[in-house]
Symmetry: C2
Subunit: 322 residues, 2 copies
């Protein structure tokens, strides 16, 4: 049991927001950002189940989250963890939502990652991040309906991560890479965002996407901004989803006009992210991107972060009460 | 003018066969092999054009190649080179075909690459390989109808190369990687091989292909045989073309049963290639793959080569006559 958890039985951890997927790596690549975060407190209970005691936070969607453990991403992840390790105890959980649901920033994923990292500190033999991954996939699937790791993986490891079915592969990230994520006050039609992807794709576009992905990965590996920029172009998913986000074209143009290496939709949207080769460029671009959303009639929040963003970590467990 | 070319006015060069594409990198990735090769001799002529004096070699298809420079991959490449550098002379060309046409081993591409490398040695200011690339694309397009560099790029640089529209990016290749290429005595229906690719692709397959490509590139970078093996799986093109190659399934199975990291179609086929983590494994697998083709009724040739295959080079220009 970790130092943080010892005082009053509670263990507390945060998980950062993340952008998954990164345009060209649909269902494959994500990165974490130093922006909004979910915080989850967990303590052992005498029971044999998982109880969600409260969900706090006034971000959009927080009040609609289920308290039933099976149906909650954090609850489900802890149920799977319990079962897998044969724990002789249950968990009580308090969730503080900081990431808006339906923002495209991994709000559902963050709760289960933070819960796992908090609970892990309560185990006699804590698991590695790699071992926690499958429970995070279990949890996240409650919300998305399928096992996609492009949000939970960067939350667990930080930075840019390749999320596979059974493991995570962290990728090298140049320290001069900065991101901007702008989250507009829009309600995204998530079902529609999935539906538009179903019609099939041409060989031409599939090959172009492969070429871009190869350039992107090689660019990261070689810290080559030209390759990263040439690669960060999603020709499969973005063209079908962009019209679901009012103002997207203008916001992307604002990012590119401000020197972005590339820009695309964060997750299913409506957030938009862009990558830059310095903090200063990113900062200036963030204002321009927000202005473009404002011109389209939408207020927005802007997050500036190194692309090598933080990973989920334990926090001091002060002030938690049942 | 190079030493090799000085004696009698002829400059001579070879280009190796190549596998383009490498399964998962359609129209993007190729590698050269130490196997059959085309040899081209070039000398300056007093005229202002390019004359193909002879095409030698008794490999399949050689006799059907056009002597008209515009319609010949070597001739066309040299015409474009002449024009670009404003040469005050023409070229005479003798082609010795060593790579069968329609084999899937880059036979058309090799003639133009060898011609360019031979002609380049005759220039006052020889060009770099990178500068020769666009002329190779010009030449190869005569045969394929479009500009694809996945054969000419590895012939120009050797090893595994990412072929883009405007440049080549050589990729790192572990020195323990060996390839087997087996070329059966089959006539491939090239038009059909292109036709079957036209129907559109599902999101599921496009995403799986991206995942495999990412694993493949990361595996090469990290010299990780597991990642290379997981990545070397073509779910887009191979499933549609494999039925055009009688015996393919058995040959691929023989490769995998013999320890191949992966196996797929070389080019449009009918050749089949496989990658191995040692020369010994490759050698044994080659026999098994040939046996599988034999069981299907086809004699075959087998080439064993490091994946880091050779690049086109100059040769002594002995014995060439007009």
């Amino acid at each position: 049991m970790s130092e943080a958890a010892r005082s009053d039985g509670w263990s507390r951890a945060f998980a950062p927001a993340s952008v998954g997927n990164i345009g060209v790596g649909f269902d494959l690549l994500g990165f974490s950002i130093d922006g909004p975060r979910d915080v989850v407190s967990v303590r052992r209970s005498g029971g044999d189940g998982v109880r969600i005691l409260r969900i706090e936070g006034d971000v959009p969607g927080a009040r609609d989250l289920p308290l039933e453990a099976e149906a909650n991403t954090a609850g489900r992840a802890l149920l799977e963890l319990r079962q897998a390790i044969g724990a002789g105890f249950g968990f009580d959980v308090v969730i503080e939502k900081g990431i808006a649901l339906g923002s495209g920033l991994g709000g559902s994923a963050a709760s289960c990652v933070a819960a796992l990292v908090a609970a892990n500190a309560l185990l006699e033999r804590p698991l590695s991040r790699d071992e926690l991954y499958r429970f995070a996939l279990d949890g996240e699937s409650v919300s998305s309906g399928s096992r996609h790791g492009d949000n939970v993986a960067p939350m667990l490891l930080g930075g840019v991560v390749m999320a596979l079915e059974d493991r995570m592969i962290p990728l090298p990230v140049p320290d001069w890479l900065w991101s901007v994520v702008v989250h507009p006050d829009q309600v995204l039609h998530t079902r529609r965002a999935r539906e538009v992807l179903q019609a099939p794709y041409s060989l031409h576009d599939a090959v172009a996407q492969s070429r871009h992905l190869a350039l992107f990965l090689t660019g990261l590996q070689r810290e080559d901004r030209r390759l990263i920029g040439e690669g960060l172009r999603d020709v499969l998913v973005e063209p079908r989803r962009s019209s679901l986000i009012p103002g997207f074209d203008a916001v992307k143009a604002a990012a590119l006009d401000s020197g972005a290496l590339g820009a695309s939709i964060s997750g299913a949207g409506p957030s938009v992210f862009a990558w830059f080769e310095s903090r200063d460029l990113a900062d200036a671009a963030g204002h321009a991107m927000q202005q473009a959303f404002a011109n389209a009639g939408f207020a927005s929040r802007c997050y500036l972060s190194p692309v090598a963003g933080p990973r989920s970590e334990s926090l001091p467990a002060t002030g938690v009460s049942a």
